[in-house]
Symmetry: C2
Subunit: 340 residues, 2 copies
C-alpha cells in the first residue's frame, strides 16, 4: 500500500491533503463527501483515514443503543439541545441497520432532528450497512472519526444494538448509554446479552409509563450485584427520563443524563480507566480495519481469474470439497502477498 | 493445514473417521457432540466437515425466516407433524440471534416443539451466535450439514432474519419461507430489504387476524410486479396459514404450504434452476469458510508475540496510526504463510 500511495499521481495526493485540510476547518461539504466515501467502503479510504486520524480523539463520543421504540432519537434530540446551549458543536451518526424487521420508521426518526437542521453547529448523518460483513462497523468508526476531525465537540452514535456489528460500533464511544423503557422486558433480554457489559449509563426512558418505578428498582438491584463492566470499574447508574412529550412540557431527566455523562467522564479521567478504554477502542479499531482489509483480499482471491467458478464447478462435480478449496485460496493469497 | 492433519496422532484421525461413521449411521449423541463443536467454532472443525461433506446435499433444506412474533415456531411445529406423517426424518436448526432485543422468549419457543421430543425421527437444536463476526452463519451451515449427514430427509433452519448474518444463513436452504403476519407492516419493511429477494414462498400466518385479506391482496399485487428472484425465475407465491390455535381446530393452510414447497422443488428440478441455486449456495459456503479461516489468521497475527499491545501502545503514543499497523500485520501474515 505505501508503494501504491507513492505511485499515485501528485495531483491526487495534493487533492487528498487539501480535502483533509478543508475537513479540519469544518467544511460540511467535504465532510459529507468523505462520509459517503467511508460508507461505500472506498478502496482508498484508509489513505484518507491515515491523514484524518491525528485530528481525532479530542471530542466526546457518546454511544446510544437500545431497542426500537425506546425513544433513542428523541433522547438524542434533547441531548443536541443541551449541548448546543453549552456552545458545543454536535455531530450525530445514526446507524441504519441492515435488518428488515427492526421496527420503526428510521427515516421518520431522522425527521425529528429537523428542528436542529438550520443550526450550523449540528451535523446529522445516517450510515447504512452496505456490502460485506463487518463493513457497517468499519464505516461507522470512520464516520465518527470524520465527525471528530471536523471539529465537533460531541459526537453521538445511535444504533439499534441488533447484532454483533452494532455492538462493535459501541466500542468507538467513551460513554455508552443503553436506552430501555419500562415494562418491555428488555432489561432482562439486555442482562443476558453482551450489550449490558458495555453500558455505562442505563437510561430508563418513557418513565411516565406504568410500572416504571418497579422497573427502576429492578434495574438498580441487578446493577448492585455487578461491580465491574468489561471496560471499567465504574458502576453503571440508571437515569430515568421522559425524552418526548406534547409541547415539551413533560420532558424530564435530560439534565440528570448530561450530569451522569459528565460524572462518567470525570471518573474515567480520575481513575485511569480512560487509558483502559482507549486501549480497548484501539484494539477494536485494529481488528475492524484488519478484517476489512482481509475481506477485500478474500474477494480478490476468490474473484481473480475465474477461480471462483472453477471451484464451484469442482465442488458440484464432487471433485473437491469447499474446505480444500479455501485452503488453496489461502495459499494463493499468501503467494500474492509474497510477490508484491 | 494438510501438513497439520498428517502430523495428527493416528488415534485422532481414526477417532475422527469413527465419529463421522457414527454420525452417518444416525447416532444422535455423536450428532450432538459435533454440533456443539461446530457451534464453538473448534479449530479442527473443517477437518470433520471435509469428511461429512460427501454425505450432504441429499436432504431437503427449508429456510424459515421472519420477524419475532410471526409464528415461525408454530409453523415449524406443524411442518414437523406433516413430514413425520409422510415418514420423513426431520432435523430443525433454530438460530438464536445475537441480538438482545429480538423480542420473544426464544427458549420458550423451543418448548413448543416438545410434543415431538419423544419422537426419534425429530432432532431439534438451537445454535447461538458465539465469538466473532460471521461465526453464526458458518456454524449454522456446519450444523445443517451435520443434520443432513445424520440422515434427516428434511432439515428446517429457523432464523429471525435480523442482520446480514442471518440472511446469509438462508442461502444454505433450497426453499426459503418468509413468514409475515397481517397488519404488522412487515411486508413493507421486507420489500425494502434483501430478504424478499431470497423468499420463494411467503407465508401469511395468523390469517385470522383483521386485515388479512387486504394484506394478502397487497402482497400478491406486489409480487405480480416482480418476475425474478435473485436465485431463480420462480415467481414467489403467498400461502395464508393459521399455524396455532386452541386444540388445533383452527389450524389451516399447512397442507397448502407443504404443496407449495413441493411445487417449488419440482420447478427447480424441471427448470434447471436447481443448479443455479446450488452454485449460489457453494459460492456462499466458500465465502463463509474463507472469511472464517482468515479471521482466525487475523487473531493469530494480532495476538502473536505481544504484537497487539505493541501496536496499541504505539497508537496511543501517536507514533503510529492503526491503518499503518494493519499494513504491517498483513505483511507479517503473508510472511508467516510463506515459511509454513
Amino acid at each position: 500500500m505505501p508503494g501504491k500511495e507513492s505511485s499515485m499521481p501528485k495531483d491526487d495526493v495534493a487533492c487528498r491533503a487539501e480535502m483533509v485540510e478543508r475537513l479540519i476547518n469544518g467544511d460540511v461539504r467535504t465532510a459529507a463527501r468523505l462520509i459517503t466515501m467511508a460508507e461505500n467502503g472506498l478502496a482508498d479510504m484508509n489513505g484518507f483515514m491515515k491523514q484524518i486520524y491525528p485530528h481525532t480523539g479530542k471530542g466526546l463520543v457518546i454511544g446510544i443503543t437500545g431497542p426500537g421504540g425506546a425513544g433513542k432519537s428523541s433522547l438524542v434530540d434533547q441531548l443536541i439541545g443541551k449541548y448546543r446551549k453549552l456552545g458545543r458543536k454536535v455531530g450525530v451518526v445514526a446507524v441504519d441497520p441492515s435488518s428488515p424487521f427492526s421496527g420503526g420508521a428510521l427515516l421518520g426518526d431522522r425527521i425529528r432532528f429537523k428542528r436542529h437542521s438550520v443550526d450550523e453547529g449540528v451535523y446529522v448523518r445516517s450510515v447504512a450497512a452496505r456490502g460485506h460483513l463487518g463493513g457497517l462497523a468499519k464505516a461507522t468508526t470512520d464516520v465518527v472519526k470524520i465527525m471528530e476531525a471536523m471539529g465537533n465537540h460531541v459526537v453521538m452514535v445511535e444504533t439499534l444494538g441488533v447484532g454483533q456489528d452494532e455492538i462493535d460500533v459501541m466500542h468507538v464511544a467513551q460513554t455508552c448509554l443503553l436506552v430501555l423503557t419500562p415494562g418491555m422486558g428488555d432489561e432482562i433480554q439486555a442482562m443476558k446479552s453482551g450489550i449490558m457489559e458495555i453500558a455505562d449509563i442505563i437510561v430508563l426512558n418513557k418513565f411516565d409509563l406504568e410500572g416504571a418505578e418497579v422497573c427502576l428498582r429492578n434495574l438498580e438491584a441487578t446493577l448492585g450485584h455487578r461491580v465491574y463492566t468489561e471496560r471499567s470499574q465504574w458502576l453503571p447508574r440508571v437515569v430515568p427520563t421522559i425524552a418526548s412529550g406534547i409541547r415539551d412540557q413533560t420532558i424530564t431527566g435530560i439534565d440528570d443524563l448530561v450530569h451522569a455523562i459528565e460524572a462518567h467522564q470525570a471518573y474515567l479521567d480520575k481513575s485511569g480507566d480512560k487509558k483502559k478504554i482507549l486501549e480497548k477502542r484501539i484494539e477494536h479499531e485494529l481488528t475492524l480495519i484488519l478484517k476489512n482489509e482481509v475481506e477485500k483480499l478474500c474477494s480478490a482471491g476468490l474473484c481473480s481469474a475465474g477461480k471462483k467458478q472453477y471451484y464451484i464447478n469442482a465442488i458440484i462435480e464432487k471433485e473437491m470439497d469447499p474446505y480444500t478449496a479455501v485452503q488453496q485460496v489461502l495459499a494463493f493469497l499468501a503467494g500474492t502477498e509474497r510477490t508484491e
